[in-house]
């Protein structure tokens, strides 16, 4: 017999608030390691200097609990809720948004959300969060908070390719997107890619790919090879740290793939800046 676990949404609210502050002020060890590694590989003088400053910036932010970047972003929240969990005590969406409100206010984080894309009035508390919920087996709730800056989000792109364009077409579109982005998304970047599915599935996969531990290869060998090839190609563009030239334009490429329609080959490219922010808690 399945035992239903009861979780009060106030637990979710508290966790989200705490994750907002942690994710914005303290880069994960995966990011710090990647910056250190890239710093030793960068041969451009300006590039090496930039890495030094990015690492110093991360240390100041972590020790003083101030945000790594002033753009503390959209609050992107991935919820994986076990099907044996019964949520009580109120509305889950409201709980997540209350958590964001508390985290961004008490953490002195910037409020960047406007209530409507056309009238553009600031909501004043960085809500609403962008919430993606999935029901999974088990009785846990996995909450990932990935603040996402506007500058790199704006350089992201999606295209519905023809199946005949194949893997070469996919690569060409990704490289074109990165070259068009140039210095704007704050390189060194992390590139999240979704290939397949429908239009919205590809976009969502490209975002989800940006919650993966930095540089962890795809478990699928062929996908992992494609990630490596693309990383090399991107780092050959010469864009470099901050677009000021150099060997390291991207720290990693993360690809997610999914089944698609006989007529379709969707590709989504979601670019993250070097402040690759993501924190996860399992309740």
């Amino acid at each position: 017999m399945v035992v239903i676990r009861t979780v009060n949404v106030s637990e979710v609210e508290k966790t989200v608030a705490q994750l907002c502050i942690e994710a914005n002020c303290s880069l994960g060890i995966d990011v710090i390691d990647a910056l250190n590694k890239a710093s030793s590989q960068e041969t451009s003088g300006i590039g090496a200097e930039i890495f030094k400053q990015l690492i110093e910036n991360a240390e100041i932010a972590d020790s003083e609990k101030i945000p790594v970047c002033q753009d503390t972003g959209f609050a992107i929240v991935f919820l994986e809720i076990g099907q044996e969990v019964h949520l009580t005590g109120g509305d889950l969406t409201e709980a997540v948004n209350n958590g964001v409100k508390t985290g961004y206010t008490e953490g002195f984080l910037r409020k960047s959300m406007v209530r409507d894309p056309l009238d553009r009035a600031n909501t004043g508390d960085n809500t609403p969060a962008i919430i993606h919920t999935q029901i999974v087996p088990g009785d846990n709730i996995r909450i990932t908070l990935a603040p996402k800056g506007g500058g790199s989000e704006n350089m992201s792109s999606l295209k519905m390719l023809k199946p005949a364009e194949g893997v070469e077409g996919v690569k060409a579109f990704i490289i074109e997107t990165i070259r068009n982005a140039g210095p704007n998304p704050c390189p060194p970047i992390v590139v999240g890619i979704g290939i397949g599915g429908s239009m919205e599935k590809a976009a969502l996969m490209s975002k989800y790919a940006l919650t993966r531990e930095l540089g962890k290869p795809s478990p699928d060998a062929e996908t992992s090879r494609l990630e490596q090839q693309l990383l090399e190609q991107i780092n050959n563009t010469g864009i470099g740290p901050q677009g000021l030239g150099g060997k390291v334009t991207a720290l990693a490429v993360h690809i997610e793939r999914f089944a698609t329609h006989i007529a379709s080959l969707p590709v989504a490219v979601n670019i993250s800046c070097h402040a690759y922010r993501h924190k996860t808690v399992v309740l």
């Binding site: 609990k65 101030i66 960047s112 070259r179 050959n236 563009t237 010469g238 864009i239 030239g245 070097h274």
Partner: protein, 183 residues
């Protein structure tokens, strides 16, 4: 590549010597403004009204700071993407603006405007916002407090580090870097 220290307001002789790729530290007063404040400034210019700040010889920093923690002068404050301000830039150059600090490429119209009006575009390190906040010694809202992080702030900065991207001679550091690429 040369290194210079400049103090605002900038004079023509300060700007004439700068070349794309130079590293500059800036001290003195600079003003923040981003999308919403730019729209308001250009609306005032179109209505032939006075601006809330005198831009002659000044630098605008494209930035919207995070709120200051208690005991802090300002929150983290790095540059935002400059390209969003391109369509508002030439009217401000006509008002005497001499420098802009941001990140990312500018339009052809802006680059031509820099040559015509003797002004320069600098980039600060995007995402080094905690570090850059340490270069800000004083901060007050000068206009549009209702815009929150998008208000115009007057900052007193000391040795604020930037790179020259576009100089008055038409050089562009970003395209110089890309030309070296192997693609």
């Amino acid at each position: 590549m040369a290194r210079y220290s400049l103090t605002t307001p900038l004079e023509d002789k300060d700007i004439e010597k700068l070349k794309a790729g130079d590293m500059v530290t800036i001290s003195g007063t600079i003003f923040t403004a981003r999308d919403a404040a730019h729209k308001k400034l250009v609306d005032l210019i179109n209505q032939e009204k006075d601006l809330p700040v005198n831009l002659k010889g000044q630098i605008i920093y494209y930035a919207g700071p995070a709120p200051a923690k208690p005991g802090y002068v300002i929150g983290s404050v790095g540059p935002t993407t400059s390209g969003r301000m391109d369509s508002y830039t030439v009217p401000l150059l006509e008002k005497g603006l001499k420098g802009m600090i941001g990140k990312g490429s500018r339009s052809k119209e802006v680059k031509q405007g820099l040559c015509r009006h003797g002004a320069v575009y600098f980039a600060a390190i995007g995402g080094a916002a905690a570090l850059l906040s340490k270069k800000v010694k004083a901060c007050k809202v000068r206009a549009y407090p209702e815009l929150g992080p998008e208000a115009i702030y007057e900052l007193e900065v000391e040795e604020f580090p930037v790179y020259v991207i576009n100089d008055i001679h038409g050089s562009d550091l970003y395209s110089q870097c890309l030309n070296k690429s192997s693609v």
